[in-house]
Symmetry: C2
Subunit: 333 residues, 2 copies
DNA sequence: GTGAAAGCGCTAACAG
DNA sequence: CTGTTAGCGCTTTCAC
């Protein structure tokens, strides 16, 4: 059986209040001698303080929830790592939840997390319509959203990436080389980032005086499979294009695979740029030119904001928009 | 302020015991009418039961800790996902901890997790010498180790992969094609899996009557960087080899990159096989022949074992050794 | 320097 | 069918 504060107190022949004070280092008024004695007993008996009993009183569990679609998607481990690093340093634990973009799972996790009394939640949603459910009102703790907005949810803080600008820069690179028929293999346009990247694409075209041709915009999902099939489809339709801007790196990699099979050379015949800068981008041949998203930083900042908000609930938190960075590698000349 | 069971009880004009019963669906003996009334009040006031208060009494937090080296390493997200899927279905939460293979961090996480009263821990260690510290005795809850053993730690359960056999099969494939000079770019041989894979390599050679040449075994780390530099080193030393067996896929990918730069064709000039079957293996050109490790399953099984052990502490749990599978793709002829 | 007492929100007998 | 009671292990005044 686990030993409790009561037993340590008895062994040390002091009250539990005294033990509590030394365990929590609130021991300015405890004699060096008792302090010593108590620590020895704690070591000897492997006493582990029950922090959830403390939580009942302090109303703080020092744990936060992290709800992401899928840790298996190469985008999220870095975000999670950023969250965990900050949280750990600040003395918080993180509870990992994979929602699969499934609103039911999201709602169920939110309920579970709140029942477990987490101090706050970091949330990446597919665009859960919280106002459609009873979920919205149920938030009784701070929530920071990462990467995507939640419709109509008045969250306390938000971290996003400047997708418009990132896409603008990527497409500008292509345009600056004289390309005029830029195929855009997009992610699902119902999602905010995909939409913003398309807008950036369009803005760059406009800037360079190249007319926007909607036939060049293909909408799919954020997968290599889609990149592969999307490109093959474009070629089958005999669509003319001289370069490609992809909604993310996975799409770009799928497209490169298809190009490789078709004997079309990258970057000689077609230049291609991705988005995200996942690890794989540095591994494929040729290395992928892409727009780097600060994934780790997003997670880190989110945890920072959240914990700040937990500590100072009334504090006004500024939303954060992180910058992207164009990384030029071998898939462009 | 959050509403408590007491207030719901008052509003419903019943005792808190009654509310507790309906909240936990132990309501066989509660009239349909009161039950209804209580649920309505719960909805209306967004009552969220405080599960940590329950935990104090039931001694169960329904959360487990997952300690891995680094979620950012492509091997672990799938393991984590397996853990989370089983845990979630069983009503458990998982607390994610990145240890960076740092024994200090590992020990500190173990302490924190136990203070938070997690019901059990799933642990992937770099081979923490628990007996070197006071850590060993400190485990007061079930622990399952995944992938690696902990020296001298008498854990309740263990999940490993048959690395010897996997390596044996991979190397046999190469040998069956008549290769006799198989370069082995290994991971750190201080780790059990790397060691076992080297043993499997040696066993296969023996089986085929090919002498073991220690000059063909290069030890490094589980990274693309090492695969790249290891291969270049071998070539510089004018080492003769006709094929390569790599300690993991990352090493294989690094080696392929180096081969590509050197103008050596895979699989025409040199055949290569990896280990793990991470996602990237299917993306690189050529696709990597590899030995698949059931990562997801490892996590899933580990969670299953752990939760079984939590529910039935006296139960004798059998260690699990999972099989590998040879996946033949394009990097072998 | 130290301890007594009240109580966090809830569950689990047991009584009625 | 429902309520009373006695805690779970701890923190936090406040008194000595």
């Amino acid at each position: 059986m686990k030993i409790t504060i009561k037993e340590i107190a008895k062994l040390a022949d002091v009250s539990i209040a005294t033990v509590s004070k030394v365990v929590n280092h609130k021991d300015q008024n405890i004699s060096e001698e008792t302090r010593q004695r108590i620590w020895e007993l704690i070591e000897e008996h492997h006493y582990v303080p029950n922090r959830i009993a403390s939580s009942m009183i302090t109303k703080k569990t020092h744990s936060i929830g992290l709800i992401i679609p899928d840790i298996t998607n190469p985008f999220f481990p870095e975000v999670a790592r950023g969250v965990e690093d900050y949280a750990n340093a600040a003395g918080y634990h993180v509870v990992l939840c994979n929602s699969d973009n499934n609103p039911d799972k999201e709602i169920s996790y939110i309920a579970m997390l709140q029942e477990k009394m987490v101090d706050g939640i970091i949330f990446t949603s597919s665009g859960l319509r919280m106002h459609d459910s009873k979920g919205l009102l149920k938030f009784q703790i701070p929530v920071i959203t990462v990467d995507r907005d939640i419709d109509n949810l008045k969250t306390q803080g938000k971290i996003t990436v400047d997708n418009v600008n990132g896409a603008y820069n990527g497409v500008s690179l292509l345009l600056s080389k004289g390309h005029k028929r830029i195929l855009h293999l997009s992610g699902p346009l119902s999602s905010k980032p995909a939409e913003d990247r398309r807008i950036g694409y369009q803005m760059a075209l406009q800037e360079y005086g190249v007319p926007y041709d909607e036939h060049l915009v293909y909408e799919g999902s954020y997968t290599t499979e889609w990149g592969y099939s999307g490109l093959k489809m474009a070629v089958e339709k005999q669509l003319a294009f001289d370069s490609i801007f992809c909604g993310n790196d996975l799409i770009a990699i799928g497209a490169m695979k298809a190009l490789h099979e078709l004997g079309i050379k990258v970057p000689e015949d077609v230049e291609i740029v991705g988005f995200d800068d996942i690890y794989i981008a540095t591994i494929v041949t040729p290395n992928l030119t892409t727009i780097r998203q600060p994934n780790y930083l997003m997670g880190y900042k989110a945890a920072e904001m959240l914990i700040e908000l937990i500590k100072h609930p009334t504090k006004q938190i500024e939303d954060v928009v992180l910058k992207t960075e164009l990384i030029i590698r071998e898939s462009t000349k």
